[in-house]
């Protein structure tokens, strides 16, 4: 059987599992069965996509099924691009299913989750397999709707209802934009298969319009600012393993859509495309992490941090576009590899972080970090895993998040050779924004980990928490292991991405596996190199040396005593530093400009027993300036058109007739 046939059978398997979830939703074993089947299917597709990826750049297996629109049929294929993304998605899917084998037991309403979870996986896989516009859009919409159903699984919460509504509106908008993009790409002859689109020569203005439409369509699904507003509402609303899938995996499907259309179908890029992508990416990166820094809700914080990482990926893609437009394929390969590496990295550590947040949520019933604290004592393994993921996502060596950012920095350092002045002025600023994003993300995760897991419990919930179950822990350990492996042996990951890079950009980075000591050398040794393995070994050896020396020569006497705190320890845990107070300096530095932050302190007069008050007002400018205006104009238009609802039957008929005539006139004039 060919790879594509196995993958399609896998999708059918997911759908059958979803059906099983509908039938057996009341049974107590149903959740185990559904997640186990999903895990197995994910592993199967993971295996065949890995094989397909290593088969080489030109390897494509395709298939045409007689379903869908009668004169088109449904085309499916796996090439190295979809193979890479299949690998990422099914890795995340397998981890989430393994996690859910334990986590799913705590679900209050399994009948609302079990049918949709495998359906969601099926939708994501189908998007990657689709090779014509119709099946792509159908799969995309299927993915959106099944994830929407998962977001609404706790639908009694008014906040979740709002999240679901906004998600639905944004998802429909995104699909509409993609529909128009494909319509333009199909050309006058209407070739909707991807193979037919690739060969077309487009008029001058068309690729630019398609790019904007794809940025709107795929960008809204990925969470590109200013289309990100639904993401921090919808991702946290779902159960945690689904949040992990949505944040870690579904956003990658959107990235795939962007790459497929812009890099693969649209032909040679123009240099100014990259400016749009770079500016959007860097704004997304910084704004996302600034939002994340100010969140109190742990899962929402993680969702905003997803927005940041999507920005980083788009920066990599933008650089690749810039280099490709100027024929610098080597540099384009470097930036494209960096972007794909970050796709993989983000899917690993963001899933892990959401799993950790889910473990905290089940143990304490609390998402508000201001009420947590001290969990490192009650949940030591979860704390360790969460800490590892925090280090990885903050781009700290020797973990994997650092490697992809390092590669992007190396790509930026080649860019002065680009001839266009626009790029010369934009790219240094993009580099600064990327560095700022990385530093802020470290601050964000120090805050997230420090307030949640360190210190003393701030309420009764974390004081009585217990460690999470073994299945969840094993899923998290597997992901942390992969994070560490990708960080220590990045050369193998780069080599694994090479076929995809060759397929899309036309050239791959130099083979890394053969370099001495397994370092990575993006261009040449004298220019830059990095060896995560040796750095890790050095740190381990020096730690052992120091510990050994200290234990041999220093006093071993240890005494436990109350905290010192400069002589005035306060036993009340509420006197600890809070998440808001931790973010206050950064809010003061960045917030006044970005969020128009206003603080007002009301101090009671001396002798007055009233409490002092500190009021902080933050404004989300994207929401206020764009979305509220749109909402207002829609409401205005609806108000004005309201009278159309109360016409007579004659007027309706004449309206229909007028519409028909005018459309026919348009067609007549057009052709």
């Amino acid at each position: 059987m060919t790879a594509i046939a196995i993958a399609l059978w896998g999708v059918a398997g997911f759908l059958a599992t979803a059906f099983l979830g509908v039938i057996a939703r009341r049974s107590s074993k149903a959740s185990q069965l559904v997640y186990l089947l999903s895990l197995i299917i994910c592993l199967v597709i993971l295996a065949i996509s890995t094989r397909q990826l290593f088969a080489g750049a030109g390897e494509v297996t395709a298939m045409r099924l007689p379903i869908g629109l009668p004169w088109i049929g449904a085309h499916f294929s796996i090439d190295s691009l979809s193979a890479f993304f299949l690998l990422v998605i099914n890795l995340g899917g397998a981890a989430a299913s393994l996690y859910a084998l334990g986590y799913g037991k705590h679900e209050e309403a399994p009948e609302r989750v079990l049918p949709f979870y495998p359906a969601f996986l099926a939708g994501m896989n189908l998007v990657l397999l689709a090779a014509d516009a119709f099946s792509f859009l159908a799969a995309w919409e299927f993915m959106s709707l099944s994830s929407w159903a998962l977001v609404m699984s706790h639908h009694r919460d008014p906040e979740n209802m709002r999240a679901g509504y906004i998600y639905l509106v944004m998802a429909s908008f995104g699909t509409l934009a993609l529909l128009l993009a494909f319509g333009l790409l199909a050309g006058p002859a209407g070739g909707y298969a991807f193979d037919e689109m690739r060969g077309l020569i487009h008029t001058a203005w068309l690729p630019g319009v398609v790019l904007i439409l794809v940025l709107l369509g795929a960008g809204s699904k990925a969470g590109l600012v200013p289309l990100h507003v639904w993401l921090p509402l919808a991702h946290p609303a779902a159960p945690s393993h689904v949040s992990a899938l949505m944040s870690g995996v579904m956003t990658k499907v959107a990235i795939y859509g962007f790459i497929r259309i812009v890099f693969d179908l649209l032909g040679t890029p123009a240099w100014w495309w990259s400016i749009m992508v770079l500016v959007l990416g860097s704004v997304t990166a910084v704004l996302g992490v600034l939002h994340a820094l100010l969140q109190r809700d742990l899962k929402r914080l993680l969702a905003y941090s997803t927005v940041e990482n999507i920005g980083i990926i788009f920066i990599g893609l933008g650089l690749a576009l810039a280099f490709e437009a100027n024929g610098m394929t080597g540099a384009a390969a470097l930036s494209f590899t960096a972007a794909l590496f970050h796709v993989l990295n983000h899917s690993l550590f963001k899933s892990l972080l959401f799993f950790g947040a889910g473990a905290v949520l089940t143990a304490t019933g609390e998402r508000d970090i201001e009420k947590l604290g001290g969990l490192i004592h009650r949940m030591p393994q979860t704390a360790f895993l969460f800490l590892g993921a925090c280090l990885a996502i903050s781009a700290l060596p020797p973990l994997n998040g650092f490697v992809s950012e390092w590669l992007i920095f190396q790509a930026i350092l080649i860019s002065p050779t680009l001839p266009q002045w626009g790029l010369k002025l934009v790219i240094p600023a993009v580099g600064a924004m990327l560095a700022l994003g990385a530093a802020l993300s470290a601050a964000c995760y120090v805050r997230a980990f420090g307030i949640t897991f360190l210190g003393r419990p701030r309420s009764t919930a974390p004081a009585s928490a217990v460690e999470t179950d073994r299945m969840s822990l094993s899923a998290m350990f597997a992901l942390l292991g992969l994070c560490l492996l990708a960080g220590l042996l990045p050369g193998y990951v780069i080599d694994a991405i090479a076929p995809t890079t060759t397929h899309i950009v036309g050239q791959a980075m130099p083979v890394q596996a053969s370099t001495a000591w397994l370092s990575i050398v993006p261009i040449e040794r004298s220019r830059s190199s990095y060896n995560g393995l040796l750095i890790f070994a050095f740190i381990t050896i020096s730690t052992l040396l120091i510990v050994n020396a200290i234990h041999r020569f220093a006093s071993r006497a240890t005494r436990r005593a109350p905290a010192w705190d400069c002589g005035y320890p306060d036993p009340n845990p509420l006197t600890q530093y809070t998440a808001d107070s931790f973010a206050q300096p950064l809010r003061r530095v960045f917030g006044e400009f970005v969020f128009l932050a206003r603080e007002r302190v009301t101090m009671p007069r001396p002798g007055d027993p009233e409490p002092a008050r500190l009021e902080v007002r933050l404004r989300d400018l994207v929401w206020d300036v764009i979305y509220l205006q749109i909402e207002r104009s829609v409401a205005f238009a609806a108000e004005r058109l309201n009278y159309l609802q109360f016409l007579t039957i004659r007027s309706y008929l004449s309206l229909v007739f007028a519409a028909l005539v005018s459309l026919l006139l348009v067609v007549a004039i057009w052709s």
Partner: protein, 317 residues
Amino acid sequence: MVLIRDLFLQGAQMLLVLAVAPLLVGFTRKVKAWLLRRNGPPLIQPYRDLRRLLRKEIVVAENASWLFRSAPYLILAATWVAAALVPTFATGLQFSWTADLIVITALLGSVRFFLALAGMDVGTSFGGIGASREMMFASLAEPAMIMIVFTVALVAGTTQLSEVADFVFAHASLRVSLALALVALVIVALAENTRIPVDNPATHLELTMVHEAMLLEYSGRHLAVIELAASLKLLLYISLIVCMFTPWGLAQSGSGPTAYAIGVGSYLGKLAVGGFLLVLFETSIAKMRVFRVPEFLGAALMLGLLGTLLLFVSRTF
């Protein structure tokens, strides 16, 4: 044979930085005392302090976790590795290619990450305030550092420190971008080492609560390890500045023992000059309010960005 010699040189570099770091701190304290017309403690006082701290019993807060107890060792180990990767007396050492400037910056980021977490572990308000302010400073100092790295890397065409030093040594000329980078790097170094005007390492007042506030709960051998890491970090930044901007006297890879002796001698001389200039600057300026520091560091970021932009415009700047 060559491999053994290279490994020996790399080991010598690791031991050299570890051994000299407390001396550098002692030297700066002595010079500062002289400038203030005091006698000051002897040069080897930091070693004595370390020895005394190592011999003391440690007092650990009741609710401190494993993170609190293991962080000091990780902090020292990572700082040590970072300091050993900066060329001090010779370029092109055996493992110089394992990490470039960006990696060294990021390694220091890992150190800061653990230090801030250790500050938050016990759950005291002082630890929190220190961690919060440290991360605020870092959020500007780190991008500034990356911009400095960009400037230097674009001039030298490499991010490898050894290659940068060789390049500057071979093609020494006054460049606007490098001057901007130098000023920015000095600002970043002051902030990262919590020196005046950003923070005052000599006091425990609430006004200067950044670095010291995170360490308040530490005692005994833990404190000794962290103090050693802090002095290594000071040494690292001065080494970084002298290696990138005054690489004269550095031994090239494969040269004879005399070259290495000259390398060590000139390195120690450059450290002394660097330490002296640092103290001179510190005594001539007052400490800033905490919320002035972002502007100070923002200036470094802008200078670094300006340097990078100039080089994007033309390689000749």
